[in-house]
Symmetry: C2
Subunit: 390 residues, 2 copies
C-alpha cells in the first residue's frame, strides 16, 4: 500500500533540525530545569477577556456552520485594520479568514502554484515554508540571504532563481533572524516580482513587533496591491496561538480562489473563534502594545547582554520575538553549539541550520523567557561561547 | 496574473447545484416564511455543558500551540471508541485529530493521491467529494449507483473504473440518500478494493444515526484494517458543526503522513476545542442517542407522510439525517420540481442533481425542521407532486 509521493516530497528526506527542541522537551518532561528559548510561543496565555468573548459567542448559539470565507463583520474589521495600517484601499472581499496563519500560507500557495511550478522563499526561513510549498506539488527553491547583509534579500538573488517560478514568499519582521526588511529591500523585492511576473506572498504575522524603524508592507507600494497576498494571524499580535485563526488579504480573484479551496479543505472556521478574534481586534493599539512590550524589553536585554562579545555577534535585532546571533567565532556549528549548550548549561536555543544554510553557524534565541531568567541564561551563554573561543 | 489551474480543476467548470439553497436563503433573509429542508445542519445548538468544558479548558490556560496530530488523551479516547464500536484493535497512533471532517477528507486524499492519480467516489455524493479529490491534483471519477437498487454500490461498477485509481471514497450511513450499505455491499466494496489494490476511505460521520439494520465499518472486515481509513467527526454525533473537529483512523503510516501534512497545512487544532470534544465523547451513548432521536422520529414522519404516494417514491430511509425521494413520476427533473416547490409552496429541498447524475429526478429532504412543521411541509409537498402527476 503506497502513500502519495507528495509526503516524501514535503519532508525532502532530511532531518527536521528540531533535535535540540525535542531533547529540551524530554529533559523538561523528566524534571530538569532548562531555560527554554527554542520556540516562538508567547509566554503569556490568551487574555481572559478574549476567552470570555469566545465563551459568550458560543453560549449565545454561534455553534453552527459558518460560511467558508469567514464571517462578514470579521472580514470587514480585518480589511479596515489593513487599510488603516497601510493606506491601501481594502474591502472585505479581499479578506478570507483561515484556521491559523499556517493554513493561510498553505491555502495561498495552493491557489497560486500548480504541480511542477517553482515557489521561491527566502532563507533563513520559518521551518514550515519549504514543506508548505512542496505540499502543493510545486518545487520549493530557497533565495539565500547573507548574514553580513543582515539577511536582507537582494533582487539579483531572486531574479537568478525565477525560472519557472510563480510565487515568492517573504517574511518581515522576520522569523528566525529578527530583522525587518528595509524600505530599499522591499522595493527591490517588489521590482524583482514585477520583472519576473511573480506573485509576492508577504507573511506579516509579526507586524506588531517592530522595535527599530518601520514595517513596510509590499502591498503598499505603487501598483503592488494586485500582485501581493498578505498573511496575517492573531497568534503573535494577540497571544492567540491556540485559537488557530489567521487570514489572507489578496486581490479579489485570489481571495475567491482561496474561498473555493476552503470549501474543500476546511469548511470554514469556528464562528465563536471568529467572534473572539473580532473582539480582540477591537481592543485597540494599547492592548497590542502591551502584548508586544515584553519582547521589546527582552530584545534590549539581549542587546545589553551580548553586545561587544568577541564570540557572539548579534544580528541587529529590529523586530519579532527572536534574535539571531552568529557564533562562528567559536569554531562550532550552530547545531554543535546548541547541543553542547543544552547538555552543559541547560539552555535550549535553536541551531541556525534548522532555518537553512545561510544561518549555519548561528543560533536563534526566542525571547519567551521572563526577563530575569533570560538575562541569566544569556550571561551563561556568553560565558560558554567565550570559553570556547579561548 | 494567473491563479493555479488547480482552482478551475476543483470546480470542474460546472454550476454547483445549490441554486435552490441560495434562493431559499435570500427569501428567508427578505422575511419570507420558508420551510428550509436543504442543508444538513442539526436544528439544535451545541450542548451548553460541552461549551462550558471548552470555556473551562481555555480559562485554565490551554490556549497555546498543540502538537500536530492532536492531544494524546483525545486520540486515546477516539481510538477506544472506534475499537469498542468495531472490535478492531486501535491505538492512539492510528488517530489524527483534524479541524473538522472535511479537513480529514482532504488530508487523507492528500496523503494517498498524487497529481494524475484517479480517486473514486460513489454517486450520489456529498457535494464536496469531487472537489476534495481534485484539490489534490488527482482526477475524480464517480462510481454510479442505481435508485432501483437503493443506491448500494456494486463491485463491478467499482472495478470497471479502477484503472489508474488509488482510492475509493464511500459514505455510510449515506448523505444524500439516507441509505446504509448492507453487509453484502460492504463486503463487495472491500473485495473490489483488494482486487484492485485500492485504499478505501470510509466516511462514517453519520454512524450514530442508524434507524434500520446496522452500520458495518469496512475497517472491521478481515484483513481490511491495513487498507481502510475511517473519517469521523463530532459535527453530527454531538451537534458540534461549528467546533470544526474531526479525525481520521488509519494504518500508522497513513496517520504519520497525515501528521506531516498537518504541520504544513493546519498546525494543529485548538486545544480547548479538543478538550471540549474529549468531554463530549465521554458523555456516553445516552447523550448521543438523544441527539440522534429527533432525526429518527422525523424519518418516521416522512415514511408516514409520503408512503404509498403515486407521485413520490421513498428510497428506504435507513440512517443519517436525510431522506431521498424519487419524483420522476411527476415528469419533472429534481431541479424543476425543487424550484417550483420553493416558489409555489415555500418549501426548500435539494434537487437530486446536486448530488450527481444517479440522483436526477430525485429530491433530498433534510430532517432539520421541527416535527410539526416537517409534517405540514411534507403534506404540501405530496399534494404538489400528486397534482403535477394529474
Amino acid at each position: 500500500m503506497k502513500i502519495a509521493d507528495r509526503i516524501s516530497h514535503i519532508t525532502g528526506g532530511s532531518a527536521d533540525g528540531w533535535g535540540v527542541y525535542y531533547r529540551a522537551r524530554d529533559l523538561i518532561a523528566a524534571g530538569e530545569r532548562v531555560a527554554n528559548l527554542t520556540i516562538g510561543e508567547p509566554d503569556i496565555k490568551t487574555d481572559p477577556a478574549i476567552l470570555e468573548a469566545m465563551a459568550a459567542s458560543a453560549a449565545s448559539g454561534n455553534t453552527g456552520y459558518t460560511v467558508g470565507p469567514g464571517q462578514e463583520p470579521l472580514r470587514r474589521e480585518i480589511a479596515a485594520r489593513v487599510q488603516a495600517r497601510t493606506g491601501v484601499p481594502t474591502n472585505w472581499r479581499n479578506v478570507v479568514v483561515t484556521p491559523g496563519g499556517q493554513a493561510a500560507l498553505f491555502a495561498v500557495h495552493m491557489a497560486l502554484l500548480d504541480a511542477g511550478d517553482v515557489g521561491l522563499y527566502c532563507a533563513p526561513f520559518y521551518p514550515t515554508y519549504p514543506g508548505t510549498i512542496r505540499a502543493t506539488g510545486a518545487k520549493a527553491v530557497a533565495v539565500p540571504t547573507r548574514s553580513d547583509r543582515a539577511f536582507q534579500p537582494e533582487a539579483a538573488e531572486i531574479e537568478a532563481r525565477a525560472a519557472g517560478a510563480r510565487t515568492l514568499l517573504i517574511n518581515t519582521p522576520n522569523n528566525p533572524t529578527g530583522v525587518i526588511y528595509s524600505t530599499d529591500t522591499v522595493a527591490q523585492i517588489a521590482a524583482a516580482c514585477v520583472a519576473r511576473d511573480l506573485w509576492l506572498i508577504s507573511d506579516e504575522v509579526y507586524d506588531t513587533q517592530v522595535w527599530n524603524g518601520a514595517h513596510v508592507s509590499p502591498r503598499a507600494l505603487p501598483g503592488m496591491a494586485e500582485r501581493v497576498v498578505v498573511i496575517g494571524s492573531m497568534s503573535k499580535s494577540h497571544a492567540m496561538t491556540g485559537s488557530r485563526i489567521g487570514w489572507i488579504v489578496a486581490p479579489e480573484p485570489v481571495a475567491e480562489a482561496v474561498a473555493v479551496l476552503a470549501t474543500n479543505t476546511t469548511y470554514g472556521v469556528s464562528g465563536f473563534v471568529q467572534d473572539a478574534a473580532l473582539f480582540a481586534l477591537r481592543q485597540g493599539a494599547a492592548f497590542e502594545a502591551a502584548i508586544a512590550a515584553p519582547f521589546h524589553r527582552r530584545r534590549d536585554i539581549v542587546a545589553r547582554g551580548l553586545g561587544n562579545s568577541p564570540a557572539v555577534r548579534l544580528i541587529p535585532p529590529e523586530g519579532a520575538m527572536y534574535v539571531m546571533v552568529d557564533i562562528r567565532a567559536t569554531g562550532l556549528s550552530g547545531a554543535e553549539f546548541a547541543h553542547r549548550l543544552l547538555e552543559q548549561e541547560q539552555i535550549a536555543v535553536m541551531p541556525g541550520e534548522s532555518f537553512g544554510a545561510p544561518a549555519a553557524g548561528h543560533l536563534r534565541i526566542a525571547l519567551t523567557l521572563e526577563d530575569g531568567a533570560l538575562e541569566a541564561a544569556l550571561a551563561r551563554l556568553r560565558g560558554f561561547a567565550e570559553a570556547l573561543r579561548g
